[in-house]
Amino acid sequence: MNVQNTATTYTPTEMMTVTAARALRNEDVCFVGIGAPSAACNLARLTHAPGITLIYESGTIDTKPEVLPLSIGDGELCDTALTTVSVPEMFRYWLQGGRITVGFLGGAQIDRYANLNTTVVGSYDKPKVRLPGGGGAPEIATNCGEIFIIMQLSPRAFVDKLPFVTSLGHGSGPGSREALGVTTKGPTKVITDLCVMEPDPATKELTVVSIHPGITREQIQGQCGWPVKFAPAVAETPPPTMHELDVLRELHARTARAHGSDA
């Protein structure tokens, strides 16, 4: 058995999830989406941030699921929550109330200012692909203290121009959010399977600040639909530790066992 502190074998998705988890603090109150955000938030809770408060839009507050939910309202979330409120209350008192420090979002498409599209590819009325729509995202994007985005880097996802803006990132650059009267930070991190991007402090354009081990700048550019900017000092993202990977894999294994048995 490998007892090294740093793992040497892990998938790009595991790298992405672990990196996202590390961005969370023990005192954060997170609005959690299903999928990669949920895995990252629960990994943080099960490792360095045991006091983190996880909130799902189904109304469950301070939930501590044993297994990852398939939907935003699995029974597991309610069973392990401090309390569960109605959905109107969740959106009014808790999200709009300004009580959430970090909102996690994903999307089908993102642009260089971290605006997101989960609505349509093609035109709205005659779409090439009709996507699920915004759900909670439009108001998560503006009412949470800051936003972390998790998405796999690919040219179809990281596009030069969005066909539809479902949720606001940094708009068309510096001052966009402020001009709309939005006082929250917006996207501060985009965590991908190849690298981490952050908005440049001056231009707000997404800029690579750390590259995952073994990944090259050319690979990143090859998966991104705009000319990628790199920060002056680009770090190597620290790889997952064995402990992080063990906890994450055990979480996924528990989840698979639980969800496999309920057809």
Partner: protein, 286 residues
């Protein structure tokens, strides 16, 4: 004043062609049995309202019940697309489908405003996004104190709300617990309402002083349908059939597999099958 009747009678009495219909349940307590009954009774031209259309509206849309969909997130949670919804919207099969699209915050506020008998809801939303460009019902008001401009949406006031709840008592009061979603608001916002329940009990017994209860005089009809939320779930009764949600992706992907499944499991079946399905989930989970 809630009347206890069969599900078929309840849908016959309260859901008409062309009605606006809100079948709510946020992942938990989705009224699938009632959706199947609406399909069996062949209702047409419905305006279907629901934050997360889910499999229930995928089935109703695919069977031609809907003329319009009002929604905020149209996917199969954790799985992928709602293929029947997309086929209707993108290809007009089995009939063209109009949509009115919102965010969750907008719809939650719109139900809340409906329950509160207000004509519209005010909230901090829709900033810097494109939905207001394609949905003329997204407007704004100016705060009379600060001058701030806030988003508005019309209150949701459906002709009929349909929900699934845990239990009713002999008087027809209805108890919800767990993830309660927007169901209470949907019923209070609607002109008429149908509630399917897992069981009717003599009385609710010891409970929280602040239990989520709809008094009998807020509900039109109650139908006892054990398992009626399957493949969704009922807190304390049976678990969510996550496996069925995954299996639905293949069933619904093609029109013929969809129609075959609907014929076998809905048209040729009745509300009684739900009890068996829910029991199977509980047994599998045990």
């Amino acid at each position: 004043m809630a009347q206890v009747m069969s599900l078929a009678e309840a849908v016959e009495a309260h859901v008409g062609d062309g009605d606006s219909l809100a079948m709510e349940g946020f992942t938990h307590l989705i009224p699938f049995a009632a959706g199947h009954e609406v399909i069996r009774q062949g209702r047409k031209r419905l305006t279907l309202i629901r934050m997360t259309p889910d499999l229930i509206y995928d089935q109703m849309i695919g069977m031609g019940c809907a003329e319009k969909l009002v929604f905020s997130w149209g996917g199969n949670p954790g799985v992928g697309s709602l293929h029947r919804f997309r086929d209707a919207y993108e290809n007009g099969w089995p009939n063209p489908l109009l949509i009115e699209e919102h965010s969750h915050a907008a719809m939650a506020n719109a139900y809340e405003a409906g329950a509160a008998n207000l004509p519209f809801a005010v909230f901090r939303g829709y900033k810097g996004v494109d939905l207001p460009k394609v949905n003329p019902n997204i407007r704004s008001v100016t705060c009379p104190y600060t001058g701030e401009v806030l988003a508005t949406v019309p209150a949701i006031r459906p002709d009929v709300a349909v929900i699934h709840a845990l239990k009713a008592d002999q008087a027809g009061n209805v108890l919800l617990e767990g993830i309660v979603g927007v169901q209470k608001e949907a019923v209070l916002a609607a002109k008429r309402s149908i509630v399917t329940v897992e069981e009717v009990v003599e009385d609710f017994g010891p409970r929280s002083a602040n239990a989520v209860i709809l008094p009998h005089w807020t509900v039109s009809a109650i139908a006892v349908v054990p398992g009626g939320a399957y493949p969704s779930y009922a807190h304390g009764y049976y678990k969510r059939a996550n496996g069925f949600y995954k299996a639905w992706d293949a069933i619904a992907r093609e029109r013929d597999t969809f129609l075959a499944w609907m014929t076998e499991n809905v048209l040729k079946a009745g509300p009684d099958v739900f009890a068996r399905q829910a029991r199977r989930v509980s047994a599998a989970a045990a």
